[in-house]
Point group: C2
Chain length 415, copies 2
């Protein structure tokens, strides 16, 4: 084990330790750490990039910043010249759900899979250099396997080990059906690592079982075992649940600069360090100093949050937009001015209208009763003046600005 | 369900009931009985034979009468014009054991598989009309399946159901490894039934899980479900354990007539009915009357056993040999005469020799001490005279007959 490390020059050793610190930072688990050191060392000695793998489900190409946790980790490898292997799991997508029970797992056509893959890449381009990734579709090799090969693959794993996977175990114990074909999803993912001879596989915590399967199967097939890096699942804006589109606590990476900036500013203070570590491209030393400043009270959480918000907007929209978003935010919230990029709406409705009806007509809130509650809480302004009367009727004018909560604005335009 | 039966003429209904009685006789389970009636009825109405399947392991072609229980059941279908599908499970044999752990499951070459299949057929010819069986090798269709097909197949069965199989459950509970590929053996057997559209599958009790799998999978693949007939495992000559070569309590179907006859005569009385029912080709009414005569004490067990022995020898060697075997047995055991077909041995050893040394030299017993015990028990005769002295020395002569126990004879021939 130590033999490879002993061959490093002093300079190479320093470089190895530097990369090791970057890659392991923010991870949940590195399995195992010493092998990661060896892999980096070997790459330096042989001047050969490592192959770093990420598997992707072809059905859900709508990327939010929760997904960028793993992308950000990939970027760190990419910045050091290593090869990124993105695997589109289209084999699963192509075969659909053989039980016919799950509506979610529908059969995708080749065209749909490719369109989804392109959407992925477009979005990933905001974190990775998309010109420097290898894109693979796993149906290419998996669809070629015959029954004999599948039996050979299945012979390398015990039923007991598969039953250890959390969701299988829970469902079996609850007498809920687990179809035999589901056992093959981790095996497929593992087989990808065999085929592509991946050195490293990155996955969220929820992929723990699947990424380890690649390591196990590579060994069984006489290949060098991949090192596994699992990443924490990012908490959503509420600071309670994992970020997910269905829970509404997310930031989409294609959202407008002001929207992203505002959403980051809304996170609870205890998430500042996590977000900074997991989704920004700041250097390790910057990350450390932010953590220290927050812990020591040297910097105000609000200032660090603004720095974080600006950084994230810069990552997805560039320096200029980040600057604008910051200025706009300061205007609205610190100087009580209106933002500069308010959506304009052509109004063809009535000229005299109650505020609750106006707000719901514009789709800014779901119901008039919700709007009335918002008025009672002081959350609705017309031309920057707080509305206090839940029955207030106003005259609609060109340029009228309606504000709901802190960040929702609309400006009326009459013909 | 009843609709098909209603279409039968009176004569056809009688014929259906006759066949049903024959096929269900001696079975452990018929799953389900009413479907079997429908299958027979449909076959009569459409004048179309049923396809009756038996799966065979290509590695163990040494047939004993325990195996003829299922063959005998097949023969009953064959006699009524139905088609027998013998499946040589060479796909399993060809892929071997992917874990490399089991020495028993070695990879067989195509030539070995074919040779074994031929050996099967040669032996089966003693029970079935081998010109009227369909021989299938399941690698033909199973080796063509691709990963996608395998997933589709695996999607039709739950893990929980597979875990219900006795041997899987026991091993999992004992923390002994079950490899995932083992789950596929029952699925392969089931797939054979889909491919061959079998109407009926016959198997020993130990095949209960596997044959039902065929029924389940046919339904899942939109085929008419096969009816399953399971047969009891035949008890060995000792009347205690299942008949098996390794336990030495078996009758090989290629053994000599006198050997088969003698072995049948050695079974305990309580096996007479079972053997008669499961391995003879006697008619249903003959079988019933034998059972009744034994129960009422109308016939002596010994007479029924002789009838059984003669019947079994006739089945494997023909009427003439059966007659001879019976006469020979009567001579030796009832009239205390020597059998007519004693093995002759050229003797080139010493002229004066002790009995224990002679008996072991001829390989009739394993050791001189064993021979001495046998003498003490009165089990050794020289020229039909019981030996009583364990140190007896005799003069070897041409034509000398040595008898050990009831059925082992050798005659010496000097040059």
């Amino acid at each position: 084990m130590g033999a490879i490390l002993d061959q490093l020059s002093d300079e190479q050793r320093k470089e190895m330790e530097r990369q090791y610190a970057v890659y392991t930072h923010g991870t949940s688990e590195v399995i195992p750490g010493d092998e990661l050191k060896n892999k980096i060392a070997k790459s330096l000695l042989e001047n050969k990039p490592l192959k770093v793998k990420l598997g992707l489900d072809p059905t859900a190409p709508d990327v939010h910043i929760g997904h960028t946790v793993v992308l950000n980790k990939l970027r760190q490898f990419q910045e050091n010249g290593h090869i990124i292997q993105l695997i589109i799991g289209n084999f699963t997508g192509k075969i659909g759900d053989p039980t016919g029970k799950s509506v979610a797992r529908v059969q995708l056509t080749d065209e749909e899979v490719e369109r989804n893959a392109k959407t992925y890449l477009d979005q990933f381009g905001k974190v990775l250099d998309e010109n420097k990734v290898e894109l693979h579709y796993n149906a290419k090799w998996l669809s070629e396997l015959k029954f004999e090969d599948v039996i050979h693959l299945a012979g390398k794993i015990t039923v007991a080990r598969l039953l250890e996977r959390d969701d299988f175990e829970k469902r079996i114990n609850a007498n809920k059906p687990v179809s035999l074909h589901e056992f093959f999803y981790p095996l497929m993912q593992g087989y990808d690592s065999i085929h592509l001879e991946s050195d490293i596989e990155i996955g969220g915590n929820d992929q723990y079982f699947n990424v380890l399967m690649g390591r196990h199967l590579q060994e069984q097939f006489g290949k060098e075992k991949q090192v596994v890096l699992t990443m924490p699942l990012l908490e959503g804006l509420d600071g309670v649940e994992k970020m997910s589109k269905s829970k509404g606590n997310y930031i989409g990476i294609t959202e407008k600069p002001s929207e992203i900036y505002g959403k980051v500013m809304s996170i609870p203070d205890q998430l500042i360090v996590t977000y900074t570590e997991l989704i920004t491209d700041l250097s390790l030393s910057e990350k450390h100093s932010i953590r220290d400043e927050l812990a020591s009270g040297k910097a105000h959480p609000r200032a660090l949050k603004m720095h974080l918000a600006k950084t994230i907007v810069r990552q997805f929209h560039g320096q200029e937009k980040a600057q604008e978003a910051e200025e706009s935010f300061q205007k609205v919230f610190q100087q009580n001015k209106l933002p500069t990029d308010i959506d304009e709406v052509h109004w063809e409705g009535e000229q005299y209208i109650t505020v609750p009806y106006l707000v719901t007509s514009l789709g800014m809130l779901g119901s008039t009763s919700e709007t009335r509650r918002m008025i009672k809480n002081g959350g609705i302004k017309i031309n920057q003046v707080k509305v206090t009367d839940i029955h207030l009727e106003i005259k609609v004018e060109d340029g009228l600005v309606i504000q709901v909560g802190k960040r929702k604005f609309k400006k009326l335009k009459l013909k």
